[in-house]
Symmetry: C2
């Protein structure tokens, strides 16, 4: 296998999962933070900054491009990578919609309490 059954889920669930998967590697998190820090473009500095091989960085950049959160532009001999603000906002929104549902959670985890489960078992 090794492949998610995307047809069982909504497009929103699949898109959120796809975005989360792209965030699911510390190197890609570091890349995003780096671009956010300079508030602009970024290039080969990443290789020196992150301590990973150039081929590996390039691969991570492509993974971020694949979910639409990064765009690249050729700038002379080097590359300029930027965040797409619209896509960024869209993904942020998707995560927030999920996280906000957690606001209604009881402060005490129901699995820690003595009370039985609120939901019927079948």
């Amino acid at each position: 296998m090794g492949l998610s059954k995307t047809d069982l889920f909504t497009p929103e669930q699949n898109d959120l999962a796809r975005a989360a998967k792209a965030f699911g590697n510390p190197a890609r998190v570091a890349i995003l933070q780096s671009i956010l820090r300079v508030q602009g473009c970024i290039n080969g500095d990443l290789v020196r900054e992150l301590g990973l091989a150039q081929a590996t960085i390039s691969q991570h950049l492509r993974a971020l491009k694949d979910i639409g959160i990064l765009q690249g532009r050729i700038e002379g001999v080097s590359m300029c990578y930027c965040i797409d603000p619209e896509r960024w906002a869209e993904i942020k929104e998707r995560f927030n919609r999920l996280f906000d549902q957690g606001e209604k959670l009881p402060s005490k985890n129901c699995c820690q309490s003595e009370n039985p489960c609120t939901q019927p078992k079948n």
Copy 2:
């Protein structure tokens, strides 16, 4: 390989990536939404609800337990899975800290504009 080089990154980056990875599968997104919907515990209904095999659901539940976002309690013959509100809030915070840095982004992507990259190339 197949293994992230976690030692190159901060604990925060690694934890965020680990949490994102757990969110990075549509079945796990659906499981979380299901628990949030009932605002309590959840059990074998997931198997009927999601259309995945019981072993697969159990595996996904364990992945969510592994990042500390889910807790389980035995309730008779069945299981009661709940979200840990503290860990939920912590993960939400980590994501928010990342997303909020994007607030400062220019509305026009610098890769779409005519201006050259603001950062030096090396």
